[in-house]
């Protein structure tokens, strides 16, 4: 016998099905008592029907209340956990759908003086932050903002160094560009000095090895641009000097690694602003006493659409394109994998119009986060498709929580946390999706 379908006048309890489906027994009841057969059963008295209905309704009410209470407890628990240890929402409740909502401010830490560049360690438990003022150190923080260590190029005073951007290779080694030293300093994860990349085809250890015939050990050599000599220890541990190498003809500014492990550097040497692409060999080497990586470059100085003015940072998106923050031209410049110019993004007005783009970071969903130093915001663009699109911007100008004062760089963790250097507010802001 097929059960009679319900009709509109079938008496059924008002249970909000979405929140609490009625108990199975109850749900089956109307089927066992289809209206057509009702007449055959012994008729219960009016009072009995009423009290039975009431009891049933009360039971359902209780069930609903209980469910609501449980839900409330759940929300309360998540909330209190969130308050105690603010954590990105996606980590607590994985959301399967791709929604685009701006992140929110979590907290800030202040143990920094004019912070400029920022990068995460491969395990994402450490932050490396460069300082533009004060002692001009590179500082290591944990992700809660506790200062762990600080370091700087050997033999330099604060007035002789200007660390700017920082990148970390897959082995955790730290690369810091220095605008006064015209070099990239390389340290281990703890900040112990390893070597200096003096130019696209020269490192300090290579220079010493070439002149002495032996490979110097890290920690036994150093060179400061403002000195006339390179200092090193010979294998017997005696202090020696060499005449300084020829002054480099590059000016490394931005530094990053792409997914293939290629070292990307923006070079702002006078009149020749460009992007240098080093083969993955650099990050693969144990040391750099033999430094002959393949390097190619793209871009030149100027304001035409395929030229660059003070390119600050470069990233490679999932489509293999190079995206350059073309600072003083106020735009993003997109180049294909071969270094052929493709398009500009972020020109003109509207929310997506850039003022002074600096640091860049892509998240797992290919959303490019662009720190706009003068706009005092972070602008986010979708780079997952061939035609990039502006999504949203977050932050306002000021000195309060979540407000920026000439922000400069950004690092994104896979848990959805964003770390942003807020230069003139002397702090690093932590945001989360």
């Amino acid at each position: 016998m097929t059960p009679t379908p319900w009709t509109d006048d079938t008496p059924h309890p008002l249970v909000p099905e979405e929140t609490t489906p009625p108990p199975v027994a109850d749900a089956a009841e109307p089927e066992g008592l289809p209206p057509a057969e009702a007449g055959l059963a012994p008729l219960p008295s009016q009072a009995e029907v009423k009290s039975e209905d009431e009891a049933r309704q009360r039971r359902r009410l209780w069930a609903v209340l209980l469910a609501l209470l449980l839900a409330l407890c759940g929300v309360g628990f998540l909330f209190s956990r969130y308050v105690r240890r603010p954590e990105p929402l996606p980590e607590m409740l994985p959301v399967p759908v791709e929604v685009n909502y701006p992140p929110h401010f979590l907290f800030a830490f202040y143990d920094v003086n004019g912070p400029l560049g920022i990068a995460l360690s491969p395990s994402e438990d450490r932050l490396y932050v460069t300082e533009g003022e004060g002692d001009r150190l590179v500082k290591i923080f944990d992700t809660e903002g506790n200062l762990l260590r600080a370091f700087a190029p050997p033999r330099t005073t604060a007035a002789e160094r200007a660390p700017v951007y920082v990148a970390v290779d897959a082995r955790g080694r730290v690369y810091v560009t220095d605008r006064l030293q015209h070099a990239i300093f390389v340290y281990d994860a703890e900040g112990n000095y390893l070597d200096t990349i003096l130019g696209p085809d020269l490192t300090l250890s290579e220079y010493i090895a070439k002149h002495t015939g032996f490979k110097p050990r890290p920690g036994t050599f150093a060179y400061d641009w403002f000195e006339e000599e390179v200092h090193y220890q010979d294998p017997q541990g005696r202090r020696r000097t060499l005449p300084r190498p020829d002054r480099p003809t590059w000016a490394p500014l931005g530094v990053a690694f792409d997914a293939q492990g290629r070292l990307l550097v923006t070079d702002v040497a006078l009149g020749a602003h460009r992007v240098l692409v080093f083969s993955p060999q650099v990050a693969a080497q144990d040391d750099w006493s033999d430094f002959q990586p393949e390097v190619w470059s793209f871009g030149e100085f100027g304001e035409a659409e395929d030229q660059l003015q003070f390119p600050n940072m470069v990233v490679v998106d999932a489509l293999g394109r190079f995206v350059v923050s073309d600072g003083n031209n106020g735009r993003l410049s997109v180049w294909d994998a071969q270094g052929v110019w493709q398009m500009l993004v972020g020109t003109g007005g509207g929310g997506g119009g850039l003022n002074l783009p600096r640091g860049l970071a892509l998240d797992a969903r290919q959303r490019l986060h662009v720190v706009d130093a003068v706009g005092q915001v972070v602008r986010v663009y979708d780079f997952s498709e061939a035609q990039p699109e502006f999504l949203f911007a977050f932050g306002t100008a000021g000195t309060l929580s979540g407000q920026f004062h000439y922000p400069n760089d950004i690092a994104i963790a896979s848990d959805g946390r964003l770390y942003i250097t807020d230069r003139a507010n002397d702090r690093v802001q932590v945001w989360s999706y």
Partner: protein, 314 residues
């Protein structure tokens, strides 16, 4: 009246565009040479959230300038924090460039100069108001119309003056001519000064402007504070605008004294900047300094009274 206020930015922008179209140079700077097609204003102004005629991004002009001209050099080669020109020269432009890499900037530094911490600066972060001899006698101070920032001396929108110095400073008209600086257009570490380079200082320190020998006369705004010049050099209002060769003085640019040199203008004249640096200095004044600068180097180029020796060689 209020109704028409909205016209102000429109008018000002128009005036700016008309005024500054001629002052461009290809160095990546956002100062002037604006064309209607490039959005050069965006590098300093947030157009999208403009609320009034002052569309400036943030409270601090100093931080705006330093976001390009700071030690990081993220948007300029003139690092005025350290007083260094940080453009390593590329092979393709070598020879054309006539500012040495890491050469010391002519203006001095705001944080360091010649890799030492500064001992006195024209503090441009908007906290100073009073200037020596601004309509008052030397050794006295009076408030400027507005506090001292980078934009007190420079016009970020460009200017026909040398180093985009303002045409109006503290209510006074200022002319400092542009000069030929050599093949690369700009030479930031060798002086190529016009003879009227002192004018920028005079706008705020009128009482220090003494141009006639042994006389109470000068070219300052009201002539009020200079009656003591005749025999009194105690406030070091040294005469300017004359040739260096007084009483057989050695050429401070070429000969110098004990390895120290001082710059002169195009006609070999003495200017305020012969002795002073406009941004800041790291000179030390440990042994010699008169009140009110007991330990302050008063923006002087050389330690103690070194500046005097280079010419007078006493």
């Amino acid at each position: 009246m209020r109704k028409w206020l909205w016209l102000l930015p429109v008018f000002l922008s128009g005036a700016l565009l008309l005024n500054l179209a001629g002052t461009a140079w290809a160095n990546g700077g956002p100062h002037g040479g604006y064309t209607p097609t490039t959005d050069a204003c965006a590098g300093c102004h947030r157009a999208h959230t403009a609320q009034g005629p002052n569309l400036l991004t943030a409270t601090s002009t100093y931080e705006l300038c330093m976001s390009c001209h700071g030690a990081a050099g993220t948007g300029a080669d003139t690092n005025v924090a350290d007083g260094k020109f940080v453009a390593a020269r590329s092979p393709s432009t070598e020879g054309e460039a006539n500012t040495a890499d890491n050469g010391d900037l002519l203006g001095g530094g705001f944080v360091n100069y010649k890799t030492a911490a500064v001992t006195s600066i024209h503090n441009s972060d908007g906290t100073l108001m009073a200037a020596w001899g601004f309509g008052v006698a030397r050794g006295q101070t009076a408030n400027l119309p507005s506090s001292l920032t980078c934009a007190s001396c420079h016009d970020p929108h460009g200017s026909p003056n040398y180093r985009i110095l303002r045409e109006q400073i503290a209510g006074n008209a200022v002319t400092v001519d542009q000069v030929d600086e050599g093949p690369a257009n700009k030479d930031y570490d060798d002086e190529h000064w016009p003879d009227n380079v002192s004018n920028v200082c005079v706008a705020c320190h009128g009482a220090y402007h003494v141009t006639r020998p042994n006389s109470a006369e000068d070219n300052s705004d009201n002539g009020s504070g200079n009656a003591d010049y005749g025999g009194d050099i105690s406030t070091y209002a040294h005469r300017v605008g004359m040739n260096y060769a007084y009483g057989g003085n050695a050429d401070p640019e070429a000969t110098g004294y004990g390895g120290y040199f001082l710059p002169l203008t195009a006609s070999k004249n003495v200017a305020c900047q012969t002795c002073h640096l406009p941004h800041g200095t790291s000179a030390s004044m440990s042994t010699l300094a008169t009140a009110p600068f007991t330990n302050d180097s008063a923006l002087l180029r050389l330690d103690n009274r070194g500046v005097c020796e280079v010419c007078h060689q006493k």
